[in-house]
Structure formats: structure tokens, C-alpha cells
Symmetry: C2
Subunit: 369 residues, 2 copies
């Protein structure tokens, strides 16, 4: 593929890789010790940006030198990964981070030494490269895992094909692992909001009941914790189409954590928050107050276990859960000492979630932010 025929995003990412390579080459030309400045991905360099309402990486960096016994291997690994992603971008192909590990793994010369011994070695190098040149792995044509599906009144351009998401049957469009602009674009739509549900079984219920048609929404599931592809797609749906996002998860600390990652980003991958987090995301349920409100039978609750309690207490301390309403919500869960799955709503009838619970919540603006 010639340089000019590439899409603008690919050209931008290639330019970022070139800046990195040029700076190393320049140092070599000057007989300096070649090095890279790599933003630190440690907890001490992560903070919650109150204004933007997202978790972000700070400004601390570490230097990685070539002539340094402790750093030489990592220095070479970083350039090896950078060079492999350049080849990917040049060829216009995408691949998995596992694949990239195999593609860059080789034994060096006549030694017994491998470039990488395990994917555990190559994954952090990919993350180093992402933060160093400020590009998501997806912009480097790399992806992790693929999960999740979408239906709704929207037409999506996916790699040359036009997907009418209102004609996708019971299955839906499988959300790809890379949802960057060069591969995925939004065309016409007639949606008023996006609804993310944690569980595919509940998604199927809502799709079967054509909830998205009646309430004009885009219906997405991420099969548990939404993978990066789903998060990026949601971020783009919300920012490009100016749609609100409602999140429907189990009433347990794990469900709240899923919501938290969608909304503010995660501590581990703070550098990606800017392009992944959706600070305006609204938590629509299940709330710890729903059990009483909807008179759910007592026997559908599950007692919190030790991990639940520990996690709930952690979340209670998160800076982004300090609003009065959130503290009330979390304390209610701990007080009741029970959790509640989305499926528990079915005790009130198979389509209770479609016909009563969600319309009620949306109409009365009963959500937490």
C-alpha cells in the first residue's frame, strides 16, 4: 500500500512511530546513548481528573537506554514491537496481541536467548509503546479479544460493508475487536440513546421484545466486562452522535465496577481513558433500592460474600463515587448485605424488564451519574 493511499488515521499513527524511530536514530548519529522516554504506568502516576471526570495518567516518565545492562533487552524489544506494528500498518492488516508475540519471537543469533519467552513479556511492551507514542493498540492495528453484539436503528459502515443494524435478526452484528474510524463509521440513525446491558441473555430478551424499536435506542451487550472494542464503539457513539448512554448491570460490586470502567476508565489502563471512557454514562440499574421498589421476592437475593464486601468498600472509597447519591446506593447494598442479578427481574414476569422496569426508569429519569 502506498503512503498516500492510506487513510488519515493510519498515516497519523505511522508518523508517530517515525518520530520515535527518528529520535533514536539521531542519538545514534551523535554517538549518544540511544533512549526512549516512556510514561510511567504505575499507580503513583495515575490520578482522577475531577474536571474531565476520568482516570488519567500523570506526566512522570522513565528513561529506557540501549547501553544499560538492565534496560538493553527492553529497549530492543520496544523497537522490535514498534517495527512489527509499522509493518502491520504498512500492509493494512490487523492482528491479535498474541499473534504479534509469535510474529516477533525469535532466537537471537547463535545464542539460546529469545526476543520474548512468553506473551507476558510482549504485552507490557505493547502498552509501553501505546503510551510512548500516544496511540491506542487498535490504532497500531492490534487487538485483544472480541465479544459483544449490537442491534438498533443505525446503519454502520464496517470495512467496506454496510450493516443495517435494524435488520440483524436475533443474533445481531458481532462487535469487532477494532472499532477505529478507518474501519467503522456511523451512517444514518434514528436513536435517542444507547443502552449497554452487561448480560447477553438480557440483551436477547430486549432484542426479542424489540425494545430498541419501540424506544428508539441502540442496544449493546459486552458479555460481562465490556472488551475494548465495545468500549471504544460506545465512546464513539456517544461523542459523535451525541447520544446518552444508559448502563444496565447486575446489582453487585462487579456490576458497579463494570459501570465504573465504562464511565471513568480503569486504573490499569489509565492512558486509554481519553478515548475509551464515557464520563456522561448513566447507571440505570439494578439499584439496591429496586428490590423494595419493585417488590421482588426475598428469595431471589444472594448474600454478599467476603470478596463482594471487600470490593464494595473499595468502590465506596473511589473518588468518582463520592457523590451523595452514590454513597447512599453503596451503603444500602452493604446494609442489605445482598446482591441481585438482572435475571431476578424475571420473577416478576419474563418481559418485566422490557415492559416495565426500563421504560419506568427512563421516563422518571431514575439513574445515577
Amino acid at each position: 500500500m502506498s503512503e498516500s493511499s492510506k487513510d488519515i488515521q493510519t498515516q497519523k499513527t505511522l508518523a508517530k512511530l517515525r518520530v520515535l524511530a527518528d529520535s533514536v536514530l539521531k542519538e545514534i548519529g551523535k554517538h549518544d546513548n540511544p533512549h526512549m522516554d516512556i510514561p510511567l504506568r504505575t499507580l503513583s502516576n495515575v490520578h482522577f481528573d475531577e474536571k474531565k471526570q476520568i482516570i488519567q495518567l500523570g506526566k512522570q516518565t522513565q528513561q529506557r537506554y540501549f547501553f544499560n545492562v538492565a534496560q538493553a533487552k527492553k529497549f530492543m524489544q520496544t523497537l522490535l514491537i514498534a517495527s512489527a506494528t509499522k509493518k502491520l500498518l504498512d500492509s493494512g492488516k490487523t492482528t491479535s496481541i498474541r499473534d504479534l508475540y509469535y510474529m516477533t519471537k525469535h532466537t537471537m543469533g547463535d545464542t539460546e536467548e529469545n526476543t520474548f519467552n512468553d506473551q507476558i513479556d510482549s504485552d507490557p511492551i505493547i502498552e509501553d509503546l501505546e503510551v510512548t507514542i500516544d496511540a491506542l493498540r487498535e490504532e497500531l492495528n492490534l487487538f485483544a479479544s472480541n465479544r459483544g453484539a449490537l442491534v438498533g436503528d443505525i446503519t454502520i459502515w464496517d470495512s467496506g460493508d454496510t450493516i443495517h443494524c435494524n435488520k440483524m435478526g436475533s443474533g445481531g452484528w458481532s462487535i469487532p475487536s477494532i472499532c477505529e474510524e478507518n474501519l467503522i463509521q456511523f451512517k444514518e440513525h434514528d436513536a435517542k440513546f444507547v443502552l449497554l446491558v452487561e448480560k447477553d441473555a438480557v440483551w436477547r430478551r430486549l432484542n426479542e421484545d424489540k425494545f430498541w424499536k419501540k424506544h428508539k435506542c441502540i442496544l449493546v451487550h459486552g458479555q460481562g466486562m465490556a472488551p475494548r472494542g465495545v468500549r471504544r464503539l460506545l465512546n464513539r457513539l456517544c461523542s459523535e452522535l451525541k447520544l446518552p448512554l444508559y448502563v444496565l448491570v447486575d446489582n453487585d460490586p462487579w456490576g458497579l465496577y463494570i459501570y465504573s470502567v465504562i464511565k471513568q476508565g480503569s486504573i490499569n489502563l489509565a492512558y486509554e481513558s481519553v478515548r475509551m471512557a464515557i464520563p456522561s454514562a448513566k447507571f440505570i440499574g439494578l439499584s439496591s433500592f429496586d428490590r423494595e421498589k419493585y417488590k421482588l421476592p426475598k428469595n431471589v437475593t444472594i448474600k454478599l460474600d467476603e470478596t463482594d464486601i471487600r470490593r464494595a468498600k473499595q468502590i465506596l472509597d473511589y473518588p468518582w463515587f463520592q457523590k451523595k447519591e452514590w454513597q447512599k446506593e453503596l451503603k444500602e447494598m452493604l446494609k442489605n448485605n445482598v446482591k441481585l442479578e438482572l435475571e431476578a427481574l424475571s420473577a416478576k414476569g419474563i418481559s418485566f424488564v422490557t415492559e416495565e422496569y426500563l421504560p419506568d426508569k427512563i421516563k422518571n429519569k431514575e439513574w445515577l451519574e
Copy 2:
């Protein structure tokens, strides 16, 4: 929904439920002790049918009586589940087995006794009902989990929508958890075979390279062990369209087990083999001989661990792996003492699997059956 407006399959399943209920009612009318005959799902009642080449359930049954202290609860649970699935079929709605647990869970009268305490109690009852009336859970409008995607030159009718699977972009059509005839039907197609790949990352590679277009195939992944929806869909694609199925898995005992379940069915769920297993499925790789054949670098192999070795020896003893070629294949894995992931092929180039490995194998009919 009136009886006559229902599709034929639903009518058939309802009739089967009615036979069960009628026989119980008849015994009540005669003041007999009401009972059900439930096929035994124990290992002793499972055998490998050499002629059909599938794992099947035998003819042993157990009696479940109402007036029997040890059986009364299970008897009532079975009728409760049967009655709930009748309601599902009547309403034309589908739901998850977790949902069904919540729908049928209630506290009995003024006691502290619940109909079910946990999903662990209701799942085996669903399986009892499936074998007793000879209907897959999907025919009872029930499903477990949803995974997997499909692309290729085929048009599929899914619950009223027409899906052109050759225009599904990078994502593909998300394979629904229920793939029975009343919901999913095959229309025109231009495919010569079906290719199932274990990993979604490899599926993405093949889709991006438009392998399915060049080689006229239907490309499916099941994200690891193929879930029931994918297995049922593959079974129907092979039997209704008379297409051969090639299976591409990791070269490790788990990959071989995935192939084995696709082909012969599983011991746990032997009763479903007739409608799920595909005895003609061909194993196209990775073979333990591929490393040498394709000169893969030594450092992409992974040493077998204890679990691998134990499992490989188990598979070596399976009646359906007794063919000379299979014994040779399995013994080679144990002799080499290494396994190989699909991604290892990328050490030969990112599109090696698309451009060389698969075309080569198919052209030379290099597979095991």
C-alpha cells in the same frame, strides 16, 4: 398466540409436553402413584455408536414418583419446569436457563422451603426434561450462553430479518444461542465447505484476507469450545446444505477435545448428539507433524504440562480415536512433548494461514477424520 398460528416445531414440542402431562394426569385419575420415566444420564448409560459414529445415550431409565419422600421434590420440580417451558412456547418467547431458574423459584406456601435454592438444582431438571420428552432445550425456547460469529457467501433468515453474510464487515453475524428451524433458516448460498476455527483472532485474520470469498466457504468461530448455538448451526449447515466441515484448532489436547465434541458429541450431554454431532467433521490442523512440515521455528512450541499429558492419554483411549492415523497423531504429540498454538503459524508471516497453510491442506486433502 393461538395453537394453529405457531410454527410446526413449536407445535411438536408442545405435543411432547402434553404427552408427559397427560400420562401423569391419567395416573392421578386412576388413583395410582404418578410417575415419570426419565432416561439415565450416567456414564454407564452412555456408549459410542460405531455405526453412526456418535456418542449416544442408552435405554436405561429411572422412575421418578410423586409419593416417595426421596423423589417428591424432584417430581414437582420437573413438572414446574415443564409448565414454565409450556408458557414460554405459548408466548413465543425465549429465555436463558438462568432466567428460568428465577422464573420458577418461589417459596412454597408459608414454609421456608424454596422450589429451587440454586441454579445448580434447576439445570439438571431441565436436562431431565430434555431427555424425557426428547427435545433439545432450544426446542423448549431455552438457551445457555451465546458466543461465536459467522461470515461467508450465504443468506440466512433470522427471526424475520434477512442477513447477507457476505456483507457483514469485520464483525460478522453474531451467532444466536438458539439456532432452531423456527428462528434460523438457510436461503441462497455459494459455499463449498464450512470452516470452523477455534479462535476469534484467527477468524478475524481469515475474514480480513477474505479467505471465505476466494475459497467459497462459510467461516465460523466459536471462541474456544463451540457453544450449543454454534454446534447446532454447524450441524444444520452440514446436513441441510450437504457441506463438509473442516475444523481448525490449536495443536494441544484441548483443541483435539473441541474437535472431538464437534464430531462425536460429549459424554456429559450424550442425549443431544443426534442433533448436535457432525460425524463427518474433518480435522484440518494443527497437526503435530506441521511443525516439521512447515519448518516452524523451534521456539514457538510450548512444553506439554501434566494436565496436557493426562488428557492426551485419555483421548488416545477414546473409542472414536482408534484409527491408525489418529493414534499416530496423538503419539507424535506425546513423543514431541510439545504443543503449538494457531498463532504460531504467524512466525511464518501474518497471512501464512490464509495464503499457504489452509489452501495447501485442503488441496492435498490433508486432514484426519
